[in-house]
């Protein structure tokens, strides 16, 4: 084509929308399960082409195991694992890891502590050695633990200043009974963090960290790597007494419809977090709930954003999701079901009104077959994209272990999603997000939003301030 044709106003030649070709087979990878002589469970999965190997270690050190006056100790312990070992000082350890091109992260959550290593395959053995040192013989030096405690105290005001984090803290406090660990911040609050020292960290480690209850998931391209030898020489060296399984306490929550406004004078947006608890992956309803939640608020073309973003322009995006809190082998676990996003301050009332209208319409009219079909096609179709990297596969395998699910859970979930009909998906979405059983947290300017929210009839409104 030449410039002349463009100027003459000639346009492109149009073709009909193409139909897809034949899908090429793909399945969620099946790991190989084994056990080292020290009792450590190992799941491994060879993924050709993935040159960055991902290792996830699950430690059964749940937050509910923390002493009440030392809450946050699991998080401090997780961070302190990489602050020096019997072979390296804290500074040396960090430098050694980085010389491998490795990253090592550890964090504590309700089900336990997760340690995640990622490293180029060519340096896997060296990095596994460092990981094993961190698990086997952490030094927990007093000075470093003291620094981590101070850092954690420094973080708290940053968390409170972040609207999304502030909303999450408020929702947990509102939803769960005061005596439940779930009601309080995962990384601990100021009054308990202050009590933590190296002795407390060492005691928590001694009681809850051992190879026999831990699982390591290793995923990546193992070409040219003798993984058995590498594991035997590193994580195989970790010693510890055996221990029985820990009972998992049941979860209860009060989802009486109500509203908490965390006052932020002058805020230009209101952060919304609307939630309750519901079933976890052990429940037969899970696939239907995944589908229904996607149709409600999984993406920009789901019901919530179709109105709140693409019709009204109230928000950059609102999402509905389910996040497992804690599971048990007996199926007494639960997930957090929630809707989140932020809307301009002056349209907070109208946005919530529309949001509730979407929920009520869903309950009255249900999902359409077309919505259900699109959701299935997306959720099943994106699997090969979603699991391209070793880290994504390792993360899901480790989640399954943490949630007491079989190793083929994710692989089978895709078939179950495809078998789920519109009626079941509707029922699950309506049960997950009943209009009168939702706790709403709004972080925003109370003087501008509280009155309009009172008029909506979505529950009693309480205003709290941080100062």
């Amino acid at each position: 084509m030449s410039d002349a044709t463009a100027q003459n106003g000639m346009s492109m030649e149009f073709h009909p929308q193409p139909r897809g070709g034949e899908p090429r087979p793909w399945a969620f990878p099946a790991p190989e399960r084994g056990e080292l002589p020290n009792g450590l469970t190992v799941l491994r999965c060879h993924r050709p082409g993935q040159k960055v190997v991902a290792v996830e270690v699950n430690l059964v050190a749940p937050l509910e195991a923390e002493p009440r006056d030392l809450e946050g100790v699991a998080g401090i312990m997780a961070r302190a694992l990489s602050e020096g070992t019997d072979r390296h000082s804290a500074e040396e350890f960090a430098a050694e890891l980085e010389r491998c091109g490795a990253t090592l992260d550890a964090h504590a959550d309700h089900p336990g502590v997760r340690v995640s290593l990622e490293v180029p395959a060519s340096r896997l053995t060296r990095a596994l050695g460092l990981l094993a040192d961190a698990l086997r013989a952490p030094a927990f030096p007093e000075g470093e633990v003291e620094r981590l405690v101070r850092n954690r105290l420094d973080e708290i005001p940053h968390e409170l200043a972040n609207p999304a984090r502030r909303a999450a803290i408020a929702l947990s406090k509102e939803l769960f009974p005061a005596d439940s660990r779930l009601s309080r911040p995962r990384q601990g609050a100021e009054e308990t963090i202050r009590n933590i020292d190296a002795a407390a960290v060492r005691a928590f480690y001694a009681e809850h960290v051992r190879p026999s209850t831990a699982t390591a998931v290793v995923v990546g391209d193992f070409t040219g790597v003798d993984l058995d030898k590498a594991l035997a020489e590193t994580l195989g060296d970790w010693k510890g007494a055996a221990a029985g399984p820990r009972p998992v306490p049941p979860i209860t929550a009060d989802d009486t419809g109500r509203v908490v406004v965390v006052d932020r004078p002058g805020a230009v947006q209101t952060q919304l977090l609307i939630g309750r608890i519901g079933p976890d992956r052990h429940d037969r309803v899970w696939p239907a709930q995944v589908l229904g939640t996607y149709c409600l608020g999984g993406t920009l073309t789901s019901r919530l954003d179709r109105v709140l973003r693409e019709e009204k322009g109230y928000t950059y995006g609102v999402r509905a999701f389910a996040q497992v809190l804690r599971s048990s082998p007996e199926g007494t676990g639960a997930s957090m079901l929630a809707i989140n996003g932020s809307v301009a301050t002056d349209v907070t009332g109208p946005a919530l009104e529309d949001l509730w209208r979407v929920l009520r319409t869903l309950a009255e009219e249900g999902l359409t077959d077309a919505e259900r079909d699109t959701a299935v096609q997306n959720l099943v179709g994106v699997a090969p994209l979603r699991y391209e990297t070793a880290a994504a596969v390792a993360g899901t395998l480790a989640d399954q272990v943490e949630q007491h699910l079989p190793d083929d859970y994710q692989a089978k979930l895709y078939a179950r999603l495809a078998e789920t009909g519109t009626v079941e998906a509707t029922a699950a979405a309506v049960a997950a997000f009943p209009a009168d059983r939702l706790v709403t947290v709004l972080v925003g300017d109370a003087s501008q939003i509280a009155d309009t929210v009172r008029d909506l009839g979505i529950g009693e409104v309480t205003v709290v301030t941080d100062q």
């Binding site: 492109m12 149009f14 490293v119 004078p265 693409e310 301009a344 699109t374």
Partner: protein
């Protein structure tokens, strides 16, 4: 169709071939059959640097409009069709380019090509006042959510304005100002499309489980008849002196959770060996957990909670190195500044140790491996080198170039650039309680983002 294709030098077995349609569209293909997925990535050579005074944010607002339908695609059809086919998609706008990308199950590749071609050739058939008004509101909410309603949220915008002077094409960030977003008209958007959206101003990369011959035939079929034009206006000249010449400092009293010191330095242009050397210098000084600044400020002095450097690589203007230090407890900014100055001066004198070079090179190599681990990441890098440097093959050898840099070169670039007279500094002093009627000041908050994402991630849709 012209081919300049011979699969040349490779990194880790990756190869790419280049082609050009008669209308000027450049095409880069890279095969990888490990997983049945294919990525489509389209870079248009237009970014916020092409915007004119009074219309900041237009390139990004326009990017949103590209998702509002075209001649054969209704409304949100772009999202609906891609997601319904099991794909994922997004678009982002930065200083120097706008990109659109889809990752598809391999058997749905043709759909993504059809969709991209339809909006490249016929967006104006669907663009109307209603989409314009709606997406203006969405983008204003994006600005509030990501910058104005977050502590330190506007720091990056402020530092950018200090490093690149008034009138410079990089003086403003891609999100633009609220006033300019309000002022943009439908006619501005139409004019923007007619000026910058043309096949000869774009590069298309397709990467993954593809048949190159068939893919090229589809590209020719869908894109081949889109007329090219020479209407593009080049961006204003972005050249600047290598150093700012004096330290520029702003002290902000805002409702933020802690004191902070942020700074930005002018660095060598992307695409040069000096830029790679600067990247290594910033990594030794402020990348990862064992950098010099982390060790000094966080571990030893204990004056900071975090201390790190990031680099925003730019091809059409000096790159920017930015420092982000959040103070611990009651630590004084003066002590932090003194320690930073000492560490930078010492580094300029001594250069990196062999162990530090090994660490920094391993970290940068790892970043590359992560970027190339997905077909989408690879497609984006191939487009980047094709658009900014004229040669996609450079993407495949980028790691090698970083590994060839010497310790002397790292020291030299640090001595030349990481100097107090080449930086803009932003100091945050927290105010205590804010009365409601002064709340508007809070909205001018600030950050060089904690994730290091800086300006590059003005996603059309953040997460799926």
């Amino acid at each position: 169709m012209a081919h300049t294709a011979s699969p040349p030098p490779t990194a880790g077995g990756l190869t790419a071939t280049e082609h050009r349609l008669a209308n000027g569209l450049r095409v880069v293909l890279s095969e990888d059959h490990q997983t049945p997925v294919a990525a489509v990535c389209l870079w248009y050579d237009v970014g916020s640097r092409h915007e004119v005074a009074g219309r900041t944010g237009l390139a990004h607002l326009f990017e949103h409009l590209m998702f509002q339908g075209s001649a054969q695609v209704k409304g949100n059809g772009h999202f609906e069709l891609v997601q319904g086919a099991g794909g994922s998609l997004n678009g982002t706008t930065s200083f120097e380019r706008t990109n659109y990308f889809e990752t598809m199950p391999a058997h749905q590749l043709e759909l993504a090509l059809w969709l991209e071609a339809d909006r490249m050739g016929s967006l104006l058939a669907a663009l109307d006042e209603e989409s314009m008004e709606n997406q203006r509101d969405v983008v204003k909410n994006e600005r509030r959510q990501r910058y104005d309603n977050v502590p330190y949220g506007t720091a990056f915008e402020r530092l950018t304005a200090m490093v690149y002077p008034e009138g410079h094409p990089y003086h403003h960030t891609p999100i633009g100002s609220m006033a300019d977003l309000d002022a943009a008209s439908l006619e501005d958007a139409r004019d923007f499309f007619r000026t910058y959206y043309a096949p000869n101003n774009a590069v298309l990369a397709v990467v993954g489980d593809i048949d190159p011959q068939r893919t090229l035939a589809w590209v020719e079929k869908y894109f081949g008849s889109i007329p090219s034009h020479e209407g593009k206006r080049p961006p204003r000249d972005g050249s600047l002196p290598e150093v700012i010449g004096e330290e520029v400092k702003q002290i902000l009293h805002e409702e933020v959770p802690s004191r902070a010191m942020m700074a930005a330095y002018r660095l060598p242009h992307d695409g040069t060996r000096e830029a790679d050397a600067a990247d290594l210098a910033l990594t030794v000084l402020g990348g990862g957990d064992s950098s010099r600044l982390q060790t000094r400020l966080v571990r030893r002095d204990r004056t900071a909670v975090t201390a790190g450097f990031g680099m925003l690589r730019l091809a059409g203007a000096p790159s920017m190195g930015w420092l982000d230090v959040k103070a611990s407890g009651d630590a004084e900014i003066a002590d932090i500044e003194r320690a930073v100055d000492e560490e930078l001066a010492r580094f300029a004198e001594e250069g990196p140790t062999p162990a530090e070079m090994e660490r920094a090179q391993a970290l940068l190599e790892r970043e590359w491996l992560d970027r190339l681990a997905t077909v989408g990441g690879r497609a984006d890098e191939l487009c980047r080198y094709a658009v900014l440097f004229g040669d996609p093959q450079l993407a495949l050898t980028a790691v090698e170039r970083v590994l060839q840099v010497t310790a002397d070169e790292v020291r030299e670039v640090a001595a030349a650039r990481l100097r107090p007279d080449n930086r803009a500094v932003l100091i945050y002093e927290p105010t205590q309680v804010t009365a409601p009627d002064t709340g508007a000041d809070v909205s001018e908050g600030a950050t060089v983002s904690e994730t290091g994402a800086a300006a590059d991630t003005h996603d059309q849709e953040a997460a799926q």
